[in-house]
Amino acid sequence: MAVTRCTKMAYAKADDMVFGRSVTPVKTGLGLEIGVGYTTPEVNYAPRPEAGASKEKLIKEYERITTDIMERMIQIGAPAVVLETEHVEQMSNHPDWGAAVAHAQKTIMENYHDEYGIKCALRHTIGDIREDRNYLKLRGDKYSVLMEAFEECAKAGADILAIESMGGKEVFDHAILRNDMAGILFGIGVLGSMDMEMIWQDITAIAKKTGTVSSGDTDCAQANTAMFIAGGLLDKNLAHTIAIIARSISAARSLVAYEAGAVGPGKDCGYENTIVKAVAGVPIAQEGKTSTCAHSDLMGNLTMQCCDLWSNESVEYHGEFGGTTVQCWSETLAYDCALMNVALDSGNEKILRDMFAASDMYRDAQGYVLAYPNAYRVGQAIAKDGNDIYLRAKNAALESIKIVEEGEKGKLELSRFEANALKDAKAAFEALTDDKDQFVSDCLTKYKNEVAVFLPENYGL
């Protein structure tokens, strides 16, 4: 597979982007289309702790989860649903486990589809198992198991293949706790992008071979870690202005999947997906106010602005008054989607989109940059130097800084702390070279020294 860099925007202007529609929709699973004019709930779940005890127990658990969700969707009249199974480690390390789960789930989904005609698809997100206790092991034996897991799950019934890959994380982890901008850029923008280039060509080949969908990657390992560490308004572990810079850089990284042949839907936890959609035109999953079961963010509505699938990220399977958790959350998602679908059907999608965005764009710097008109601008900064993974990532960082600065002159309030962190970051990025090779060689020296667990051979360096 060749890699074709994105150097142009898929959308002529930001205002053309809406939820439920994408430039290049995707057909998958049992009658489902993504991005053709309606949004669909994507339900995520984690097995109960005890369920990991054996392969049989795990399969049983996923069968229950699957039945519960399908049943509830029928009970409330939802026309479509996607299930996402994020592998627990056993399922990827033993590809036959993952495949058995995919098969069990798909069988149940087929029964519901046959009986009720409900449109549905199954996403399997393979765990990035290329890590041992001390080091990332991105290449070698574990890589083969990883690819085997993709292939076995695809053959067994998974319709949509995804991963949250970890390239660059060892450097990023060190850098993010130290406000080290070069390290953040190197970890996400350079190392992450390089690793993705490798895996996404291979995943796409597997998808082609198995007739499944090569869907995409998110920068969970890095941009989401930053977002989580930044936390809520009163948390004091990381400036939110730094978290949004990491996020903007991650768009340049996550784009690589599509350049290597993936077609979407981009995974839910990629808060960078609006930017990615602007550049690549692929459908995307998003999460926000209906994934509070999994985490808290400051853009609960905003993330709906351009989503094609709408997800709860993850919830542990257990009982509530209203049914099991997967039933409760899938129902809430389905109503959120119904609202968006009404808007699409009645021609009100743009006004609803704008209300989603307005709800959170002043809540903090992250929402401000990710609001679709600003996200579009970050996309432009990336596409402008689309052929240079370093430069485009740096552009993204600088553009996001510029956007926040502009925001501060308007309705976006920043704390003094956030403003200072932004200023320092700006200086750091402006001091960086424009030359990729120079940057990489500087970083190699620096991080081989500072980060004990950083092994350049993971990236063929």
């Binding site: 109960r48 039945t67 519960d68 029928i74 009249g77 026309p79 257990h318 009982g319 009645s346």
Partner: protein
């Protein structure tokens, strides 16, 4: 109001799935052909007490044994009702009205003989101490009765010791408990422990809004049931396969 095309927004699966046959047509296919039994079964299905009694009178007049009519006519009619309810052809109020009619029929038969009718088995039902939510329990009791079980209904807000006493006295096939509040369902554990102390090991089917499978799995005798009709299925299973709780859980613990 804005105008939308609902077909892209929602699917009325109930409309889509509705059986072609009307309930009456479906029932007609299931009634016994015997001309003395047929009108009784049909009157049960229609929930018409008067017609049930009238049919029974005629049948007894023509020489049928009152007790045998309970199983041979009333229960047969109720069997039609239960089956069509299970298949989604008829709804609960039909079952309730039929069950009322069947009770009337049974009472009538009893007045016509000194023999004691045999039941499929005894079940003790109750709502947990402190809890007044009893509609679920009422449905459970009605469905059990409709399926030929002899139900001892202790009502709602039943003290633990009263449940134990009833079980000791009645020695039922199983005990059912309903709870709709997280604060009341803990009584089930106590009941379980006290029963075990007394060496009584019968299945304790538990359900109701607050109750979930994880909770019920925590005490030895517990079997979780989601739907009221599961109570009947659990009882039937016990009658046929004995009261092995692990087996019961294997079938009824679906979550």
């Amino acid at each position: 109001m804005i105008d939308i095309n609902p077909s892209g927004i929602l699917v009325r699966y109930n409309v889509k799935m509705e059986k072609k046959m009307t309930p009456e047509e479906a029932a007609e296919e299931l009634y016994p052909k015997d001309p003395t039994i047929y009108p009784i079964a049909k009157a049960i299905f229609e929930g018409e007490e008067d017609d049930v009694v009238e049919g029974l009178e005629k049948a007894i007049g023509s020489g049928k044994d009152p007790i045998s009519l309970i199983n041979g006519a009333l229960m047969v009619g109720m069997g039609v009702v239960s089956r069509l309810y299970d298949e989604g052809v008829i709804f609960l109020p039909n079952v309730m009205l039929s069950a009322d009619a069947m009770q009337a029929g049974i009472e009538f038969c009893k007045t016509k003989t000194s023999k004691v009718p045999e039941s499929k088995g005894k079940v003790v039902c109750h709502v947990a101490e402190g809890d007044v939510h009893d509609i679920g329990k009422n449905i459970v009791a009605a469905l059990l009765r409709a399926n030929g079980y002899d139900v001892v209904d202790l009502g709602r807000d039943v003290p633990v010791d009263e449940v134990i006493a009833a079980v000791e006295k009645e020695r039922p096939l199983m005990l059912t408990g309903t709870a709709l509040m997280t604060t009341t369902m803990y009584a089930f554990k106590e009941i379980n422990d006290k029963l075990l102390k007394k060496g009584i090991k019968i299945p304790f089917a538990c359900g109701g809004g607050a109750v979930n499978q994880d909770f019920v799995s925590q005490y030895e005798l517990g079997v979780y049931g989601e739907e009221a009709s599961d109570a009947v299925k659990i009882a039937d299973f016990i009658k046929e396969n004995g009261n092995d709780i692990a087996k019961l859980r294997g079938i009824f613990h679906k979550h």
